[in-house]
């Protein structure tokens, strides 16, 4: 580059632009090892402090106990201030000192409520902790606190989201967290460590989706079904799929959720319970849950009839059809026996399909995924069928032999270069 510049072929500005271009384009910027160890170290120290605190040191006077509670916090703060003054953003110093501070803060708060017998349950405690720690994401700034924050917010959501009192504070906390995420998407795309946040956010949203479906009716199941379908569609919708890890995150969380639902639906008691779920089949029209159901259904259908990009994977196409099929069965309230039979056949079919696809393409993982699905299905049927031990034993033996045979043959075929 400098050679070209000296020869006068390109001017200095162009050279800079080209350098910038290649710098931006350069693939992954991995996490330095020191950073990982620093953060793990402070995580462990912090967690250790919390456990020690949980012991409740009664023989110390309240004054000393308070001092013990606040010393780690002040220490963490001093370390953090030093880190921020002397080291650049994203450095090991900033990340590990803020991680330590987060845990010291949690321990300190817990200890004080213990010493002074303060009222309040775990959710309220978590809320104070999260609110005091969240500014560190923006002011340090710290990616570790960014992750810890999302985990904390999700935990708070799980504790409060399903009590049945409508909207959880989870959503407001998430709003405080989201600007950091949006900033990260624009600026930290190439940082490997940031990419996990897509998947984690989707997982958090999926777990707390149920909170929006209050009052919880049978419709909640439909919403979840459409949601997994939506995620699978979003995996290859427009620009998103270009961004690294976005696609993978949508695909992973979408299929994880869908498989979980399919296996739940494969139990007969579910279908017997279905028409009379929580006393009402669909949420009342006046509730937001109803409109949420309609919106997710319409969105899923809209994407359903969209033209697919070239280069799609056949297996994913099939998976996207599944929510439509299952939701039809659910909405028409097919008899319990039929519903169970259809779902079991569907799972079995998907398993066999996966095995065949893998076999054709010599993909060992694909074949094993299919076998695992069928095996899991058999395990599930152990709970609600009265098959004799001979049948069960035979099924397991056959599956075991299949596992061996399939893997053996594919490895052999790969070796032979077919």
């Amino acid at each position: 580059m400098s050679e070209l510049e000296e020869a006068g072929i390109i001017d200095a500005a162009t050279a800079d632009r080209i350098r910038q271009y290649y710098q931006d384009k350069s693939p992954d910027r991995p996490v330095p090892l020191l950073l990982i160890f620093g953060v793990i170290g402070s995580l462990l120290t912090g967690l250790g402090i919390i456990l020690i605190v949980a012991h409740n040191w009664e023989w110390l006077s309240p004054g000393w106990q308070t001092a013990c509670a606040l010393i780690p916090v002040v220490l963490g703060q001093l370390l953090l201030i030093y880190g921020v003054r002397k080291h650049s953003p994203g450095s090991t110093w900033r990340e590990s000192s803020s991680t330590f501070l987060v845990f010291a803060l949690g321990a300190g708060l817990a200890m004080i409520s213990q010493i002074f017998q303060l009222p309040g349950e775990l959710p309220e405690f978590l809320l104070v902790w999260i609110l005091l720690a969240l500014p560190l994401i923006y002011l340090v700034p710290s990616l570790t606190v960014f992750y810890l924050g999302l985990i904390g917010i999700t935990w708070y959501g799980i504790l409060t989201g399903y009590e049945g009192r409508g909207l959880s504070n989870y959503w407001w906390l998430l709003l405080l967290w989201l600007p950091a995420y949006i900033w990260g998407i624009r600026r930290l795309q190439t940082v490997t460590w940031f990419r996990w946040s897509h998947g984690l956010l989707l997982l958090s949203l999926t777990i707390l989706l149920g909170n929006l479906t209050y009052p919880f009716t049978a419709g909640t199941w439909l919403i979840y079904l459409f949601w997994t379908g939506l995620l699978l569609h979003l995996a290859d919708l427009g620009q998103w799929s270009i961004l690294p890890w976005f696609r993978e995150s949508f695909r992973w969380i979408g299929s994880l959720g869908l498989w979980l639902l399919l296996f739940i639906f494969s139990f007969k008691p579910f279908w017997e319970q279905w028409p009379k779920w929580h006393g009402q089949y669909l949420p009342p029209v006046s509730s937001s849950s109803f409109w949420f159901l309609v919106a997710s259904g319409v969105l899923y259908l809209a994407l359903f009839f969209r033209r697919h990009q070239s280069g799609y994977i056949q297996r994913e196409m099939v998976l996207k059809w599944v929510p439509a099929l299952v939701s039809l069965c659910l909405m028409f309230q097919v008899p319990a026996l039929w519903g169970t039979a259809i779902l079991n056949a569907l799972i079995l079919g998907l398993g066999v399909y996966s095995i065949l696809q893998g076999w054709r393409g010599n993909h060992l993982a694909e074949v094993n995924r299919g076998l695992a699905i069928i095996l899991l299905l058999i395990c599930c049927r152990f709970f609600d069928t009265n098959w004799s031990f001979i049948v069960r034993g035979l099924l397991f033996t056959i599956m075991g032999i299949l596992f061996f045979a399939a893997n053996y043959w594919i490895i052999k075929r790969k070796k032979d270069g077919i």
Binding site: A54, S88, P89, M111, F116, V128
Partner: protein, 177 residues
């Protein structure tokens, strides 16, 4: 993973760190004020023993007054916060004799409506006190529970010592009588 960050965030960071200290300290201050100036009451109770992942072992307290019902107005709702009025009894323990939506004279604290029923003699509510935990040292939790069970089997009263000040309620001890 290096990037630039505006320097004006530093004063804000210091402010945020300050708040991290002010929040626990102000709680301690409020608590101390109640203990120093509050009126002492004894409430009859009955504990059990779960674990909180962060704050160690504690006894969950259930107060006898939470089992009695109070006259209510029809527009009150479950989970609403109302005021309970404390009175001392002849045996040394205290009870809440009435609840209201306005601040009563004398010792009072905020209570939460736990249940709402309509009976022939009018509307009645059950209440829940804002305090429910007594933290004990890890090794003592088991011992406390055994002691409590013994105590209850012999039909002897267990009293919780609380301080009441300006509507705040602070738990300060347990009395095995």
């Amino acid at each position: 993973m290096e990037f630039k960050w505006p320097p004006w965030t530093f004063p804000l960071l210091i402010a945020a760190l300050g708040i991290q200290l002010i929040v626990p300290l102000s709680t301690i201050w409020n608590n101390w004020r109640v203990l120093a100036h509050g009126e002492k009451h004894f409430l009859a109770c009955a504990p059990v023993d779960p674990t909180d992942p962060f704050r160690g072992k504690y006894l969950t307290l259930h107060f006898a007054i939470e089992d009695s019902s109070y006259a209510a107005l029809p527009d009150w709702e479950i989970d609403q916060t109302v005021y309970g009025h404390f009175i001392h009894q002849a045996d040394g323990s205290s009870i809440i004799d009435q609840i209201s939506t306005s601040i009563p004279q004398g010792d009072y604290c905020k209570v939460i409506i736990a249940d709402f029923v309509q009976r022939q003699d009018g509307y009645r509510v059950m209440i829940r006190l804002p305090i429910s935990r007594w933290y004990v040292e890890e090794s003592q939790a088991q011992e406390m529970e055994v002691r409590y069970r013994e105590h209850m089997r012999n039909h002897r009263p267990l009293l919780a010592e609380v301080h009441v000040f300006n509507g705040r309620l602070v738990l300060s001890g347990l009395r095995f009588l």
